[in-house]
């Protein structure tokens, strides 16, 4: 479907994912899920992986979805979506938007294989990863997206490894569209969802979705934290269209990572009596590398 720039930039609020879900107050993932659902519109099927999103949004008898919702397991959203797509093809139904979605754990860890398979086979499915950088649903355990230094319940001394770079891994499957987004810029996020859905084939959108519970910030800061994640270079915003990085969001004024870290309880131990520990410099280095790599 060709869409005009105007249509792509239109902000959508349809409440296709709506009130009544059990997410924590200020949950970035709940917000992101609604922005995605609303951007994709009524003609959409959501295939959701087990995780916070699924648990807070789909309890019997009052789920929050108003578009068809299909959940089966933690690790197979992409495969289930592949099956749905195959069925639509086989039954000559559609067109329909099929969106597989899940947390960072179900995307990059346990569900990596299913997602990789879906990409490689070329299903016409959009995969959306709600990245809250840990296994939140089970009580904030480390995932391969947990950033360096972050404290989780299984990295009580702070995580020692760097975050897996899923968007680039996705792009290396040769899929036509990859994008990153955060919940603070809903226009951008929704434009990316619509753009993705207008492209035939597998697509991947990686959304940073702050988790007040797991990150240790007050819910009201979820949007601000996204902004800082961008402005520090910690979370670069870009698209990869047919393998080429484009539309990189330039950082207007570069902010030191401390500003980002300090708002979050999971990084609290990185500051001793208000003074940053050496890990902070290492995190700054990661941000700097992002800035250099993507020319932010």
């Amino acid at each position: 479907m060709e869409q005009s720039a105007e249509e792509l930039n239109k902000i959508e609020k349809k409440d296709l994912f709506t009130s009544g879900h059990r997410a924590c107050g200020g949950c970035g993932q709940a917000l992101a899920a609604r922005l995605v659902a609303d951007a994709s519109g009524e003609n959409t099927i959501a295939c959701v992986a087990t995780g916070c999103l699924e648990v807070f949004s789909s309890p019997y008898p009052d789920p929050s979805w108003r578009i068809p919702f299909l959940h089966s397991l933690f690790e197979n959203a992409a495969a289930v979506a592949s099956g749905v797509e195959a069925a639509y093809k086989a039954l000559n139904k559609g067109p329909v938007n099929i969106i597989a979605q899940g947390g960072d754990g179900s995307t990059a860890d346990i569900g990596f294989q299913c997602m990789s398979g879906m990409f490689e086979r070329g299903h016409n499915v959009l995969y959306v990863c709600y990245d809250n950088e840990a296994y939140m649903n089970t009580g904030v355990q480390r995932s391969s997206f947990t950033p360096l230094g972050a404290r989780t319940s299984t990295t009580p001394m702070g995580n020692k490894t760097r975050k897996k770079n899923m968007p680039l891994l996705a792009a290396d499957h040769g899929i036509p569209y990859v994008a990153t987004a955060t919940v603070d810029d809903f226009r951008d996020l929704q434009r990316k969802v619509k753009t993705a859905l207008s492209i035939e084939g597998p697509k991947y959108i990686h959304i940073l979705a702050p988790c007040p519970l797991g990150w240790g910030h007050h819910g009201e800061l979820s949007v601000q934290i996204c902004r800082l994640a961008k402005d520090t270079g910690i979370f670069p915003i870009y698209e990869i269209v047919d393998g080429k990085v484009t539309n990189v969001l330039k950082i207007p004024v570069k902010v030191p990572v401390e500003e980002y870290l300090k708002l979050q309880g999971r990084f609290k131990h990185l500051f001793k009596k208000g003074q940053p520990t050496p890990e902070v410099a290492e995190i700054q280095e990661i941000a700097n590398q992002n800035i250099a790599r993507f020319n932010l």
Partner: protein, 550 residues
């Protein structure tokens, strides 16, 4: 209980959502707050209101009506007001204040260009009110009372209405036709105006108190005060206001080649600039420095542009006369010592620093006083009129406002007091107990989330060249472009009131911000709101605040 469906599959259109509102401990509320511009505006103008109308609807007519709710003289204020609103504007902390004053002028002018008329709120009340004086205080009071249906009559001592707006402020700042149109428009509400009647002299005040249900005194401070120096009674020595009154009455003044203006206020600036336009070399003599001058900065700047000479630290000790005419002044240099009661540095003479300044005319713009002739009300320190908190003087049913009460102030303040007095008079007539509604709090920069605003240059008004402006008394700032002002209005942050940015609506993770079917505005669905505070945090203008759940 509902039977379990096969495979627990349910129809999503039939879902009765679970109410998460019970989780809430904090609750978002919409609190309309007073923006600091309005807080600082002595007339209490709904600045945010008219700017939003311009920004959102580009509707000058509606904007005019918004302004006219408080201020019947927007075109006038838009020219002469020292705009304390802009000093208060939150945008100042971001880039530069909104050009409120220029916007007000453009809206006021639009009203005049399109003959927009004021609307009565109520009509046909039988009570009669007498307003003494047709300065901004009297006009404002009459205006607000007439809108509420009262029968109003204004008594004015001079031949034309307007007070100092007419006889003080020179036309290059406020063209007479602008003022006249605005006044006519006010009078069109059915207000009677009788000029050339000086209450207390031509007609006793008690007659008014007898014949009218209430009286408002907006008599201003019409008497010019000079300084007590030898030679002050010479023919070619004027007080500032007398001088301006004569010029503005259309009288040609022979002022000679050299004019010395004594004083540092707005009147002094006006006298100096008028004199300059009458062809003289003008010097302003002031005891302190530019820093301490009470005149509006812009006025001083403009005066300097117009090559008026400023002599600071200079105090006249004597006017040198020759055959009953002043030929110059003897002055002494002053130095500044520790501040006096007014907080300004105290000037002390330096002995032996006397100097002679030649002058064909001396203008003493050094103060004004209330003319109490025939008006026997209690005063404060023998100077300004005493009023209680409802602006009622010592005489029952006689109210007052403007310069006569507040001292030498501004047009806007006079308008504000006129408005206030109108309400007080209505309450007085209706026997209302005071309605003491708590004012909403003022919203300051630190409360705003300025992330959502973009830096943008302020609208800049352009004066005509010095060369042309000194040739005549024509207005020095030509009219502004309608589009420019629309752009400027978009700079307004809408501090403390929703401007429909949609942030709360889009950001609420619980979709608990709904569009009200009745108003079209945003409202909270407390059945679902969890009180996370995201909406409040991301509301740019602080219209949303979190309060403790009841």
């Amino acid at each position: 209980m509902e039977k379990l469906p096969l495979g627990l599959v349910i129809d999503l259109n039939q879902v009765v959502p679970y109410k998460t509102g019970s989780w809430r401990t904090l609750m978002p509320v919409n609190i309309m707050q007073v923006p600091p511009c309005t807080h600082a505006c002595p007339a209490g103008n709904d600045i945010r209101g008219f700017l939003r109308v311009l920004a959102e609807k580009e509707d000058y007519e509606e904007a005019w009506h918004v302004l006219a709710r408080t201020n019947p003289l927007p075109a006038t204020c838009g020219r002469v007001c020292p705009h304390p609103c802009e000093a208060g504007c939150n945008r100042r902390d971001f880039d530069s204040s909104v050009a409120i004053n220029c916007s007000e002028r453009r809206v006021g002018d639009y009203g005049l260009e399109h003959n927009l008329e004021h609307k009565k709120l109520v009509s046909g009340r039988k009570e009669k009110i007498a307003v003494v004086g047709s300065g901004p205080a009297g006009l404002s009071c009459a205006f607000h009372l007439a809108k509420r249906g009262f029968k109003v009559k204004i008594f004015e001592a001079y031949g034309e209405p307007g007070g100092w707006m007419r006889y003080g402020i020179p036309p290059y700042r406020l063209p007479n036709y602008i003022l006249k149109q605005e006044i006519d428009n006010i009078l069109r509400l059915g207000i009677d105006l009788e000029c050339n009647v000086k209450v207390g002299v031509n007609i006793p005040l008690d007659q008014l108190t007898r014949e009218y249900n209430a009286v408002f005194l907006g008599v201003g401070a019409q008497k010019g005060l000079g300084i007590d120096v030898p030679g002050k009674d010479a023919d070619n020595v004027y007080t500032g206001v007398d001088f301006l009154k004569q010029v503005n009455s259309g009288k040609w003044m022979e002022i000679g080649k050299d004019v010395v203006v004594i004083g540092g206020g707005n009147t002094a600036m006006d006298c100096a600039r008028v004199s300059k336009r009458l062809g003289a070399n003008v010097s302003v003599v002031y005891r302190r420095t530019r820093m301490e001058m009470p005149a509006i900065t812009a006025e001083i700047d403009e005066a300097m542009e117009e090559r008026i000479m400023f002599r600071y630290h200079t105090n006249p000790v004597k006017l040198v006369t020759d055959e009953g005419r002043v030929v110059g002044i003897f002055s002494i240099q002053m130095e500044l010592k520790e501040p006096d009661a007014s907080g300004r540095a105290r000037p002390v003479p330096i002995t032996g620093s006397e100097a002679f300044i030649p002058a064909d005319t001396v203008i003493m713009a050094t103060g004004q006083a209330v003319d109490y002739d025939g008006i026997d009300v209690q005063t404060v320190d023998n100077q300004w009129m005493y009023t209680n908190e409802h602006l009622m003087t010592s005489m029952e049913g006689v109210f007052a406002g403007g310069d006569a009460v507040a001292g030498l102030e501004t047009v806007a303040l006079a308008i504000g007091q006129g408005t206030q007095a109108a309400s007080a008079i209505e309450d007085y007539i209706e026997g209302n107990v005071e309605s003491n509604l708590a004012q909403p709090p003022v919203v300051y920069s630190r409360d705003l989330n300025t992330y959502y605003y973009n830096k943008q240059k302020q609208f800049n008004k352009e004066a005509v060249s010095i060369h042309t402006r000194l040739k005549n008394f024509r207005e020095i700032y030509p009219s502004f472009d309608l589009k420019d002002i629309i752009e400027e209005s978009k700079r307004c942050f809408s501090c403390g009131l929703c401007f429909h940015c949609g942030n709360c609506y889009m950001y609420c993770p619980d979709s608990a911000v709904k569009i009200s079917p009745s108003t079209g505005g945003y409202e909270f669905d407390l059945d679902f709101c969890k009180g996370c505070g995201l909406c409040a945090k991301e509301c740019p203008c602080h219209y949303i605040q979190l309060t403790l759940e009841k």
